[in-house]
């Protein structure tokens, strides 16, 4: 019998792979699948709310959709898709040949998949319908006897473990495997984003893991963590949940800040303005983000001095965030702006994230939040941050990195069509929801009565959501089409700055034959300069670092 061929191909090679690029791609495929599911759930909800007293969807189903949509988008899309981009690009951007723990990396991915499967299996019996926050006692066995809640608990355990292991992997990789000469101040800003994202995951996720474990024992073994009759307290759930839940928001945005900080300089043909300020503000946001959780609990009975503390700490986050926005604008300032699709999404990101940030500051003022809490204003706010922010940033990253991952360019025209559909659809869907919230529409209601001024705005929002969905489909179509028919990209189609553009597209299994020595935060610029000076091909500039690596 002859030995196995040393490089497996076909679908089995995907199941058993420990290559960070394949794992990264699988993360991106799987999470976009969940993104589609979550999107369909959202559209069904919008259909139900398109008119008052609609009976399209029964309350049980509607509330299951609310729960599944929130859970899917947060735990199965935004957090893991960022892990997917991180998996693909962290080793490439720091000049490593793989992650620090390749097998652990595969485990993280499969834990995520199984978490998603366990959760979605619940649609075949009784899906959870408590809202993605699962507040006790509503989620306790007395009020939610169905096993859907347990499916959610296992989802949190599995995806939580997946994320923590993935985060440990990222930190170890970034600390330990950077190319020669890549000091802390020369790391790409996306790497800073992933590094801080990972630290936040390690610090915040155990809190929710503990909370759902307590919920599990309360539900099945009669313990009394959250049960008032036994001396427990439902507020404990809220503290533990939001101690995770708020850092989670920054977990979902910091790597996206990193992507934007990569994209804007490339398309402004200018070094990023204030590299150190952006990196430091990322860390500052993460630190402050750990201290603001109770601003989700402003309507609970809490002493004013505590409220004031959490209001101040929430305010404080506006400062490093503002610094970032000004740094991006300053990067564009005087730049020779090149408006390619990634830049469209990046500029859209800045404008929409700014709105989300500002509405966040407004709801951090607790007297105002006393009115806004649990209304559609908050729904609008979170979507401006998570969709207008994170998802637009992820799409920017997709258009930016697609040539590297597939070796082909995406279609520009389709990309621009997709952007404008998404931009108009998004703002149409969610801007009016600010008004709905101010007019007193609570969130998570499956129907409403006519006569409170909510009808027109809900209809606008529903129409907008379908425009938004059309825009997303155009990008998906574009991606599928471009894999086969796109223009060949070459190593470096954007004239970009970072190391992933040094290697062929798609990169070979070992990533780099030679790893260049890093001399600045923009190694590709150095290399292009040297190539131009010497008139030699790019590969010959780099010095082999060590034989056999």
């Amino acid at each position: 019998m002859r030995g196995l061929p040393d490089r497996k191909t076909g679908w089995l090679s995907w199941l058993s792979t420990t290559d960070h690029k394949k794992i990264g791609l699988m993360y991106i495929y799987a999470t976009f699948l969940f993104f589609m599911l979550g999107g369909v759930e959202a559209l069904l909800m919008r259909l139900q709310l398109a008119q008052s007293q609609n009976t399209l969807i029964n309350p049980q189903t509607y509330e299951a959709l609310v729960t599944m949509h929130g859970t899917t988008m947060i735990f199965l899309f935004v957090v893991p898709v960022l892990a997917g981009f991180g998996n693909y690009f962290v080793p490439l951007m720091i000049g490593a040949r793989d992650m620090a723990f390749p097998r652990l990396n595969a485990l993280s991915f499969w834990l995520l998949v199984f978490g998603g499967i366990v959760f979605y299996m619940s649609v075949f019996f009784t899906p959870p319908n408590t809202g993605w926050t699962f507040y006790a006692p509503l989620s306790d066995s007395a009020f939610s006897p169905s096993n859907g809640v347990d499916a959610w608990i296992f989802l949190i355990h599995l995806t939580g473990l997946s994320s923590v292991l993935g985060a440990i992997n990222f930190v170890a990789t970034i600390h330990n495997m950077r190319a020669r000469g890549m000091g802390w101040a020369r790391m790409p800003l996306f790497i800073w984003g992933i590094l801080i994202y990972s630290y936040l995951l390690i610090l915040a996720l155990p809190s929710v893991a503990a909370a759902v474990t307590m919920l599990l024992t309360d539900r099945h073994f009669g313990t009394g963590f959250f049960d008032v009759a036994q001396g427990g307290d439902p507020l404990l759930w809220q503290h533990l949940f939001w101690f995770f839940g708020h850092p989670e928001v920054y977990i979902m945005i910091l790597p996206v800040f990193g992507m934007i900080s990569e994209i804007i300089p490339v398309f402004s043909r200018k070094p990023v303005f204030g590299y150190k300020a952006i990196a430091a503000s990322t860390a500052a946001i993460a630190f402050l983000g750990m201290l603001v959780w109770a601003h989700h609990m402003f309507t609970t009975p809490t002493p004013i001095v505590v409220l004031a503390f959490f209001m101040l700490s929430s305010f404080a986050i506006a400062v490093p965030t503002g610094i970032k926005i000004f740094n991006w604008i300053a990067t564009m300032w005087r730049g020779a702006l090149v408006f390619k699709v990634p830049m469209y999404f990046a500029v859209g990101f800045i404008a929409q994230f700014l709105i989300g940030g500002i509405s966040g500051v407004m709801s951090a003022v607790f007297p105002v939040d006393w009115q806004l809490q649990d209304t559609y204003y908050i729904v609008a706010h979170i979507h401006y941050v998570l969709f207008g922010g994170s998802v637009f940033g992820i799409f920017a990253g997709l258009y930016y990195w697609f040539p590297k991952m597939s070796g082909r360019m995406m279609n520009e025209t389709l990309g621009k069509v997709s952007f404008w559909l998404m931009f108009v659809g998004f703002n149409m869907t969610f801007f009016v929801q600010h008004a709905l919230g101010l007019e007193g529409m609570p969130r998570r209601i499956y129907t409403y009565q006519s006569g409170y001024g909510w009808d027109t705005e809900n209809l606008i929002s529903t129409i907008g959501s379908f425009i938004l969905a059309a825009g997303i489909l155009v990008t998906l179509f574009n991606a599928v089409r471009s894999v086969k028919t796109g223009k060949k990209a070459g190593n470096d189609p954007w004239n970009a700055n970072t190391l992933e553009w040094f290697t062929p597209s798609p990169p070979p299994e070992n990533n780099f034959d030679v790893i260049p020595r890093i001399r600045s935060a923009e190694p590709m610029k150095d290399i292009r300069r040297e190539v131009a000076a010497a008139g030699r091909p790019a590969g010959s500039v780099a010095q082999p670092v060590a034989p056999g690596t």
């Binding site: 005087r334 020779a336 105002v368 809490q373 931009f423 101010l438 001024g453 954007w494």
Partner: protein, 357 residues
């Protein structure tokens, strides 16, 4: 470098639609929409934009002030983006000499990124804390003449008037221009008591009784709704606060405190028997009869209420009958089962219920 304004292949960069200008336009449209939202006048609505008390008004003023500042910040940023777009082919920051450009530009970032936000936020902090919090605070015990206890249930509001036997549901009557201290509790999961036009919302959490002041400037109905997701029929857990002239309120309360009068007609008497012998009495209380259930709302003076099932349907004969036959039709998942009644039992029961004045 002379490649400014050229794209990656050396062609002149496409105009790219004026991306920034379009952004600005959309933002403007959005703000206009928000303003329109603020203008529609409604009576008996639940909009935070139509405050009917000092508390809600102070919060709204704070909100408008912040919104004005927010619009300035947002437009400022978009204008900066627009300038950077317009000036993409020109050297130098407008208004700044080339030599000290770096110093000025980092100065700008410090000013816009740190100093101005911090100053704004500190001012906001003090206004919010000193101005608004005091106004919205619940009064100290014994400071107000009136006390009301509201208990949240899945999915209705039980309303009690301490010092009186009166118990009702979903429709809270208070005297106008009188501060009323409301004690808030829950019988099951977390609810949130919210009458936007009168005051802030306050969560009702098991084990954590809470308080709130209700005060209405003028006579009228103010709608409220549960704001914390509380299960299947969260959407149909509304309430109405009626601010009445003091005399009318006193009369109402006196009537509510009385047990119900014995049924007058034989049909009503038979209906009472239906109520007591079928499942009704195991969930509902009617003071003056032996019905003492506590799962559903108190029905003693049912006919003083304008709506049924926490403002889900109007309290009229047709609706009441339809509700009794099939409660799950209007409010699927609520705890009331449909009853298997004969035609006579049903009409007697309705006659009895319609006599609960």
């Amino acid at each position: 470098m002379d490649t400014r304004g050229r794209d990656l292949r050396g062609k002149r960069a496409a105009p790219a639609g004026s991306l920034v200008r379009r952004l600005l336009l959309l933002a403007g449209l959005g703000c206009a929409l928000l303003l329109i939202a603020g203008c529609g006048q409604s009576q008996g609505g639940q909009s935070t934009l139509h405050p009917a008390s000092d508390q809600s008004r102070k919060i709204l003023h704070l909100f408008w002030g912040m919104l004005a500042a927010a619009v300035v910040v947002f437009i400022g940023a978009v204008v900066l983006l627009a300038i950077s777009y317009r000036r993409r082919n020109r050297e130098g920051i407008p208004l700044v000499e080339a030599e000290n450009e770096k110093a000025v530009s980092s100065g700008l970032v410090v000013a816009f990124g740190i100093v101005i936000p911090v100053a704004c936020l500190i001012v906001l902090f003090f206004i919010a804390n000193i101005g608004v919090v005091k106004a919205t605070d619940a009064p100290a015990p014994g400071q107000t003449k009136m006390n009301v206890t509201v208990i949240g249930h899945q999915w209705f509001w039980e309303v009690r008037y301490p010092g009186s036997a009166a118990v009702t549901a979903n429709e809270i009557h208070i005297p106008v221009k009188t501060p009323v201290n409301v004690t808030l509790k829950t019988a099951d999961v977390i609810h949130s008591f919210w009458v936007p036009e009168l005051n802030k919302k306050v969560d009702m959490i098991p084990g954590h009784p809470n308080t709130l002041e209700l005060y209405a400037d003028h006579v009228g109905m103010y709608r409220g709704q549960c704001a914390e997701f509380c299960g299947l029929q969260h959407a149909h857990m509304s309430m109405a606060v009626y601010a009445d002239p003091p005399a009318k309120f006193r009369a109402w309360l006196a009537n509510m405190a009385k047990p119900v009068a014995p049924p007058a007609s034989p049909q009503a008497k038979a209906g009472e028997q239906v109520f007591l012998t079928q499942q009704c009495a195991s969930c509902h209380t009617i003071r003056g009869t032996s019905a003492r259930g506590t799962i559903g709302p108190d029905l003693t003076h049912l006919q003083t209420r304008n709506t049924l099932a926490a403002l889900t349907i109007p309290n009229r004969k047709g609706y009441l009958g339809a509700w009794v036959i099939d409660p799950q039709h209007f409010k699927p998942g609520n705890k009331m089962p449909g009853l298997n009644l004969s035609g006579a039992q049903f009409s007697n029961l309705l006659t009895f219920l319609e006599g609960l004045k």
